[in-house]
């Protein structure tokens, strides 16, 4: 059998961006550079490795999907250049909330019938981390989140996943289909090769109008505004261990 992998990705401001706020409390996006959400990039890499390891039993197909406007094209190309086979974009410039995005993805899952949905544990911009579990619940699929290791068993029938949890590591076994989210230590994403970048431009990219997703409900979670952190008083440099001890004693911490 062939294994079909679906990887939802999100376009997020580059991880090293200095994000500024416009006068009206919105984000100042004027000079921002974007990338594939770093946790989603880990998911693309893991899906590629799973696909490569599935070669002996029929191979696989890796489809990346994103929900967003034309601006996401660069990030789709980046995932295709890494080695994804094709892409799907649910076209919208509306800011959707987690439940609406999960609803769109559930429609894509019904259309594509993947064996596994792999995505990042959260997005670097809003850091909600809700979409994967919401999607799993909508599909009534099992999930394994914050994975640091994924092993596909029985030719793609099951997955054994090690999850990073507060107390340490939990190991769970899922019968596919399922949703798995990538954590930091899952892998080291590859760089796209030059031939990979050339090939990416010729790979299929479907655009699905948001209306085709049907009723995704109204947005009920929205960001009203952004603001800077309250300023923290500047700290002091101490010159010696004795001075440090003195300062800590002043604060009754020693």
């Amino acid at each position: 059998m062939s294994l079909k992998l679906l990887v939802p990705i999100k376009r997020t401001p580059h991880r090293d961006s200095r994000i500024r706020i416009a006068a009206d409390g919105a984000l100042d996006t004027a000079n921002l550079k974007y990338e594939v959400n770093p946790f989603d990039e880990l998911a693309v890499e893991e899906a590629l490795r799973i696909k490569e390891s599935a070669e002996p039993f029929g191979g696989g197909e890796l489809v990346v999907v994103t929900v967003g406007g034309e601006a996401c094209h660069q990030q789709i190309l980046a995932a295709l250049a890494m080695g994804a086979d094709r892409a799907l974009r649910v076209d919208t410039d509306e800011p959707l909330d987690s439940a609406q995005i999960a609803r769109c993805l559930a429609v894509v899952v019904e259309r594509e019938s993947p064996d596994l949905v792999l995505t990042g544990k959260l997005a670097y911009d809003d850091e909600n981390g809700q979409v994967p579990a919401m999607l799993a619940e909508m599909l009534d699929w099992p999930q394994a989140t914050q994975a640091s290791s994924v092993e596909i068993l029985d030719g793609g029938k099951r997955a054994r996943v090690v999850c990073e949890v507060d107390s340490g590591l939990d190991e769970v076994e899922l019968e596919l289909p399922a949703v798995i989210t990538a954590d930091l230590r899952l892998n080291e994403p590859r760089y796209a090769s030059l031939p990979g970048i050339m090939r990416a431009k010729r790979k299929p990219l479907d655009v699905m109008p948001l209306a085709d997703a049907g009723d995704i409900g109204g947005g009920r979670a929205r960001v009203l505004s952004y603001r800077e952190l309250p300023p923290k008083p500047a700290g002091v440099r101490v010159e010696s261990v004795d001075e440090l001890i003195g300062k800590l004693q002043e604060r009754k911490l020693l």
Binding site: P13, I19, D97, S98, A99, Y124, D125, D126, E127, N128, G129, Q130, V131, A133, M134, E137, M138, W141, P142, T145, Q146, R160, C163, E164, V165, D166, S167, G168, L169, D170, E171, V172, L174, E175, L176, A178, D183, L184, R185, R220, A221, R222, V223, S225, Y226, R227, E228, L229, K232, G235, V236, R237, V238, V241, L244, I245, L248, R251, L253, L254
Partner: protein, 339 residues
């Protein structure tokens, strides 16, 4: 019976002793109920629910509900979401919230879908909560959250009759204790809560005598500058033991295999705000700062004067940790002897 103005704080899987963060979440419950003019209940889930409920009871909830079921014996997101959902059948709340943890992060979104309610993750504060028209289910709840790796704050509005949230425990305080609330055990008629296609296999945790990161008042964190388990990590451990502190680590230290993942402080890992945070050989990547910048007093010892950790440190010592930390340990020990 619960009303449209009532709040539910979910604790699960509950531990005994109860986690400090779970008690802190009750503080959100109390603050929210004061705004809505309602009451707050607690729902304590899992095999330790009864013992945990006894510790929750003095913190001012109207009722502390306990719920256990064979399928909650080992934690899975699917079973915990179903258990909370089953409990909520026939009960109405305005806000359902829980302390952010690796568990609630993954089962509250499932619960939100089951209840068809919007959710805010890891909120730092409840700014406002109102229900304008109960019959129309028309209301808003606004929260403050940290976004962009803790570099900005956002105000998020959830609309509808019910809001769901996880809250960052370090930003809330447990309500003052008083007379114990009634504890009521809830029995579920559902034969099965587990997802038929998920199986818990095993759990592993490093053995340690030290307090857990999320419970400790003092944290000593070892960074890459400690150079490993045969070099500076034992110094960090010695200082932690001397101060009764938890041991923390940066991503680099975990990636190198010097300390296990549950010690990591940061965007990935624990987000904490202890009374005293001592960073040893920590450079201060933004992902790490996101996990500790709200600590009450931050000490940084690093030989690189340009290290970003100094930007958030209350007291910075530019020094070779292999000289400064042994000196600090010796002098603190001396002070303790004098005292």
């Amino acid at each position: 019976m619960a009303e449209h103005s009532d709040i539910l704080i979910v604790i699960g899987p509950a531990s005994s002793p109860v986690k400090k963060g779970d008690l802190a979440a009750l503080g959100l419950g109390k603050a929210a109920s004061e705004k809505t003019g309602g009451a707050f209940d607690a729902l304590v889930l899992g095999p330790h629910a009864a013992e945990a409920a006894a510790e929750v009871a003095p913190h001012g909830a109207r009722t502390v509900f306990t719920l256990d079921h064979p399928d909650l014996a080992t934690y899975t997101a699917e079973a915990y979401a179903r258990a909370a959902h089953a409990f909520l059948d026939g009960r109405t709340y305005r806000l359902i919230a829980a302390a952010t943890s690796s568990s609630t992060r993954e089962y509250l979104p499932r619960l939100a879908v089951r209840l068809d309610a919007p959710m805010a993750s890891d909120v730092l504060a409840l700014d406002d909560i109102a229900l304008d028209d109960v019959a129309a289910g028309d209301g808003t709840a606004t929260f403050t959250r940290a976004v962009f790796v803790g570099n900005l704050l956002s105000t998020v509005e959830l609309s509808g009759a019910l809001a769901i949230a996880t809250c960052r425990a370090s930003e809330f305080d447990p309500p003052e204790t008083g007379a114990a609330s009634p504890v009521e055990a809830v029995a579920l008629s559902d034969a099965s809560l587990a997802h038929p296609r998920k199986k818990f296999v095993s759990t592993s945790q490093a053995k340690t005598e030290r307090p857990e990161l999320t419970e400790a008042e003092v944290v000593v964190t070892a960074g890459r500058g400690t150079k490993g388990p045969d070099k500076g990590i034992p110094l960090a451990e010695e200082l932690a033991d001397l101060l009764g502190a938890a041991l923390g680590s940066t991503r680099a230290v975990v990636d190198a295999g010097w300390l296990p993942n549950e010690f990591q402080v940061g965007q990935t890992g624990k987000i904490i705000a202890p009374k005293l945070y001592i960073a040893i050989g920590v450079s201060g990547a933004i992902q790490h700062l996101a996990g500790m910048r709200n600590s009450k007093t931050i000490v940084a010892i690093n030989k690189d004067p340009e290290a970003p950790i100094f930007e958030v440190a209350d007291f910075g010592l530019v020094a070779d940790l292999f000289e400064a930390v042994p000196e600090l340990i010796a002098k603190v020990r001396e002070l303790r002897r004098e005292a």
